[in-house]
C-alpha cells in the first residue's frame, strides 16, 4: 500500500463532488419532496373538508326533504279542510235555498188557498142568500141582513 499524490487528488475530487451534490443535486430533490409532501397534506385536508361538506349537505338535504314533506302535508291538510269547507258551504246554501223555495211555495199555496176560500166564501154567501130567498119565496133584503150574512160567512 503506497500512499502518494492520489491521496490528494482523491480528497479534492471528494470535495468537488460534495460541492456539486450540495449545490445542484440535494436541494432540488429535497425541495421536490417537501413540495410533494405539502401537496399531499393539502389534498388530504381538502378531501377531509369535502367529506365534511358532504356530510353537512346530506344533513341539509334531509332537513329540506323533511320540511318539504311537512309542507306538502300541511298543504294537503289545508286543501282538504278547504274542500270540506266548500262542500259544507254548498250544502248550507243549498239547504237555505231549498228552505227558501219551500217557504215561497208554501206561502203561495197558502195564498191560493186563502184566495180560493175567500172566493168560495163569497159564493157560498150568495148561494145561501139565493137558497134562503127561494125558501122564503121572498126577497131578502141583503142589506137588512147584512150582519146575518157576515156572521154566516165568518162561520164558514
Amino acid at each position: 500500500m503506497d500512499i502518494n499524490l492520489t491521496l490528494i487528488g482523491q480528497s479534492i475530487t471528494f470535495f468537488l463532488f460534495i460541492w456539486f451534490t450540495m449545490k445542484f443535486v440535494w436541494p432540488p430533490i429535497v425541495n421536490a419532496l417537501a413540495a410533494r409532501r405539502a401537496q399531499i397534506a393539502d389534498g388530504l385536508s381538502a378531501a377531509e373538508k369535502a367529506k365534511h361538506d358532504e356530510e353537512l349537505s346530506k344533513h341539509r338535504i334531509a332537513e329540506l326533504l323533511r320540511d318539504a314533506k311537512a309542507q306538502a302535508q300541511e298543504i294537503i291538510g289545508q286543501a282538504e279542510k278547504r274542500a270540506a269547507e266548500i262542500i259544507d258551504a254548498a250544502k248550507t246554501s243549498a239547504k237555505t235555498e231549498a228552505e227558501r223555495i219551500v217557504l215561497a211555495a208554501n206561502a203561495e199555496i197558502e195564498q191560493n188557498v186563502h184566495r180560493a176560500r175567500e172566493q168560495l166564501r163569497g159564493q157560498v154567501a150568495s148561494l145561501a142568500v139565493a137558497g134562503a130567498s127561494r125558501v122564503l119565496k121572498k126577497e131578502i133584503n141583503a142589506a137588512a141582513n147584512e150582519d146575518l150574512l157576515k156572521d154566516l160567512v165568518a162561520q164558514l
Binding site: 500512499i3 499524490l5 492520489t6 482523491q10 450540495m22 443535486v25 440535494w26 421536490a32
Partner: protein
C-alpha cells in the same frame, strides 16, 4: 487468465492485478508511466494512480450525472422512474442524517449522499469480473500503444486503493476539525482533548490528568479517519483478492473452471451485501463524526 506470449505464474498474475497504473516522477527526475510495480514504488509520493483517479471520477460522475438529471427535472407531481429511485435514495440518506445528526448543517446530508453513492459505485466495480477490464486495457495497450500487456496495469476498484479511502476519510477528518473549531472554538476543541475523560477539582490532579487525557483522546481522534478508511479498504481489498484467487481457478481443468464459476458467482452475490454495507457504514460513521464535531458540551467537566 489470458494466453499471452509467455505463460505467467500465479504470483505474477496476482501481482499484476494488484498493481496500479501509475504516473509519476522517476528517481532520475523525469515524469512518466511506471512499467512495473518496482518502478511505481521508486516514485514514492510523487506519483498518481491513474486508474484509481479514472475509475473513481468516472463512477462519481456517473452518480452526479444521474442524480443531477433527476434533480433538474424534479417535480412535486408524479415522479418518473429515475426521480423515484433518486428520491428513494435521498429519503434513505435523509432519514439516516436526521437520526444521527442533531445539529443544523446543510453540508452533512449532501456529503452523506455523495459518500454513500460514490463509495457504493466504487465498490460496485468489484462485481465486474476481475479480468474483463484489465484484459481490454491490455489489448488496447498492446495494439494501440505497442506496449507489453503485462505492463498495462488497470485496477478498476478505487476503494481497494488506500489512497482513495484515505483521501475520503482525511477529507472528512478535515471537515470534522474545521467544524469543531467553528462550533467549539479552538479552546473548546482542546478542552475536549485534554479535560476528558479524567477530570478533577483538584488543580494538581488536573494537571496530571491533562497529558493522560490528551493521549487517550488524541488516539481516539486519530483512530477515526484511520479506522474509517482502513475498514473500507480492508474489506474491498480482501474481497478483490478472493475474486482474483477464484479467477486463478480458471487456469485449471474443466472441473476447476466450473467450480471457479460457481464460487465466483457465490462470492459476487455475497459481495453485493458487503459493498452496500461498507458504503452504508462509511456514510453513517461520517455522519456520526460530523455530529460529534457539532456537539457543544453544556458543562465543562
Amino acid at each position: 487468465m489470458s494466453s499471452e506470449q509467455h505463460a505467467i505464474t500465479s504470483a505474477e498474475y496476482i501481482r499484476h492485478h494488484l498493481t496500479n497504473w501509475t504516473y509519476g516522477k522517476f528517481p532520475d527526475g523525469h515524469w512518466g508511466f511506471a512499467h512495473d510495480a518496482a518502478q511505481a514504488k521508486s516514485m514514492g509520493f510523487m506519483a498518481i494512480h491513474v486508474d484509481t483517479m479514472l475509475w473513481s471520477i468516472a463512477t462519481g460522475l456517473l452518480f452526479l450525472f444521474f442524480f443531477h438529471q433527476a434533480a433538474r427535472k424534479a417535480t412535486a407531481g408524479i415522479p418518473g422512474g429515475l426521480q423515484n429511485f433518486v428520491e428513494w435514495v435521498c429519503e434513505f440518506i435523509d432519514t439516516n442524517v436526521r437520526g444521527s445528526f442533531t445539529a443544523r448543517n446543510d453540508l452533512v446530508a449532501p456529503m452523506a449522499l455523495t459518500i454513500f453513492m460514490w463509495v457504493f459505485l466504487m465498490n460496485f466495480m468489484d462485481l465486474l469480473p476481475v479480468d474483463w477490464i484489465p484484459l481490454i486495457a491490455g489489448q488496447v495497450g498492446e495494439h494501440a500503444y505497442n506496449m507489453d500487456p503485462h505492463h498495462v496495469f488497470m485496477k478498476i476498484v478505487p476503494s481497494t486503493d488506500p489512497n482513495a479511502t484515505f483521501g475520503m476519510s482525511l477529507a472528512i477528518f478535515a471537515l470534522m476539525i474545521v467544524y469543531s473549531f467553528k462550533n467549539k472554538g479552538v479552546a473548546g476543541f482542546f478542552a475536549e482533548l485534554t479535560l476528558h475523560p479524567f477530570s478533577s477539582k483538584n488543580t494538581l490532579l488536573q494537571i496530571i490528568f491533562v497529558p493522560i487525557n490528551f493521549v487517550l483522546e488524541f488516539v481516539s481522534l486519530i483512530a477515526k479517519p484511520l479506522s474509517l478508511s482502513l475498514r473500507l479498504y480492508g474489506n474491498m481489498y480482501a474481497g478483490e483478492m478472493i475474486f482474483i484467487l477464484i479467477a486463478l481457478m480458471f487456469g485449471g481443468g474443466f472441473i476447476m473452471q466450473l467450480a471457479g464459476g460457481l464460487l465466483q458467482w457465490g462470492w459476487a452475490v455475497f459481495h453485493i451485501l458487503i459493498i452496500t454495507l461498507q458504503a452504508f457504514i462509511f456514510m453513517t460513521l461520517a455522519i456520526v463524526y460530523m455530529d460529534m464535531a457539532h456537539q457543544v458540551p453544556h458543562e465543562q467537566h
